[in-house]
Amino acid sequence: MTTPLLELRGVTRQFGALRAVDGVDLQVPPGARHALIGPNGAGKSTLFKLVTGSMPVTSGTVALDGSDITKLGEAQRARRGISQTLQHSSLFLSQTVERNVVMAAQRQPGGNRHSLVPRRQKATRDRARELLVDVGLERRSGALVSALSHGERRQLEVAVALACEPRLLLLDEPAAGMSPAESGRLVGLLKALPDTVTLVIVEHDLDVVFALATSVTVLHLGKLLLTGSPDEVRASTAVQEAYLGTGRESLFLDTDGPAGLDVSRSEQGVS
């Protein structure tokens, strides 16, 4: 059996009396398209932070490609190939779209980030433009991020994350607030990523989840409820109960009819 690219063992994060993430064991094989779902407050975003290192674990270990990275800081983990998009956008609002991508791309090998004099960073800029074309923002490359729409910012987040040339790409609700056309484009882009990029995605829009994911993990109240194929997850009564408890049963009834999801999607877009 191959080494899992990401392996969590007994990962726990405690906030005072609350265990936001409680003893989660998870293995994500290389090249996987793995989705993390669960009702609000299930601990999905916290789990992401524990993987990226922006928050330390209370106990448990995180391993990337077989090596323990629990003790490493966020920047070190990023350099090992963990990249993310955040639920709440944290782009450089006062810089241009292209520079946001260049900022990430110049960090990569061959990107001369240490240069103290201006260079014609042709390779870096070409890479940035390629990525902007991929996410559909090429017409906005000279605009300031503060002038972008919400959907455009999410697209830019994805371009920046890809510019880090990740081995493991964590996407926290990448489609939140996107129009159906935009999220369709995003799914296409993510599907086209090479196998060398392993995806873990948190998403409420189950159209996106089931279009992309080859395996799904359900979190509930910080605990891992179930990991399985999309079909297994859909069929699971335990999962249905977890969602029923939060009044979101409709999410699971209409997964085949895109039109049926419109209500729930707009609901999620607000959150």
Binding site: S54, G73, Q95, R113, G142
Partner: protein, 371 residues
Amino acid sequence: MSAPARPTTPAATAPAGGSSAVPGSRRSRGRAPLRAVPALAVLVVLALVPYFVGPDETDILSRVLIFGLFAVSLDLLVGITGLPSLGHAAYFGVGAYTAGLVAEHWTPNAPVPVLVAAGAGAVAAVLTGWLVVRSDGVFFLMLTLAIGEITSQLALQLDDVTGGSDGLFGIPTFRIGGEPLRLEGYRYWYVLAVFVITFAAVWLISRSPFGLALRGIRDNEDRMRSLGYSPFRYKYVAYVLAGAFAGIAGGLFAQFNRIVNPSDAGFALSAITLLALVLGGAGSLWGPVIGMAVVVVVRDYYGPDLGGHGPLVLGIVFVIAVYVLPRGFAGLAGLGALRGRRRGAVSAHATDPDDPGSGAVPGTSSEERPA
């Protein structure tokens, strides 16, 4: 000095990959040679000044350039990297004393004292920055303030080396090839040459990939960490570079003024330079030089005629400037340069068309983390 050497027509810079839609970046690159024109014009005017004004005015202009250079070094720290130091004069002082001692005991020949002063400023920043740069917000302010005060106290106490409260005096002025520069105009030209070279260096750094990373750290340190940058390293290098450039300014000052005393490393200089940054517009590099020109002219040129009320006038100028020009003098140029930019840009207040995030001194803006 801002123009790339080869001509860049829009067609030549368009990517071959057929993407025809990068108007913003292409246009600004095509305009780069044009943007160098004002800089060259200013340089020519500055070089010709001694032919048209008297020695007193030339002397004041030299001071403007020396302290302007110091303001530029502080701007690298404050405007570009987002580290509002209250003790930057420490490195100016270290440079000044070093150059004074070198000129007196070794050689006053250019450019030795200035180069040694740059090294001394850098070393001082290496030693202190290690601690200072790790701190944040109000702790950063307190630590830099302490370093400034400790440095000027040391200058006072170590009187065997520094001359104590009398300071170093009778420092030999600049020499080139063993020949002392006696005429005010020659001294001015030497100061101008060092100013231009150093300013160009800081300007290049601010436009480099490293400089872009510094701006990123200024705007959002956490984000940079998630992109794989280690902010501490970048801030530390920036701190050391700023220390070296401040050392150069101090080195020029020692041989120009021929007297250095402990107050030249003290809080008053740091404070007045921060004022120049606010006045001129932090982050633009050239704005602070203009701000410093106002400060120096009011304090040193008109000051004597005002019967000791120079600081009062300065205070009034400062208050007016904060109300009338919230982003300093550079904000005025920023407005013009941005007019042609894409609409929707909310950065009309920025001081630098290349860096719309510039303009605010960190700590004076409500967007900053609580200090």
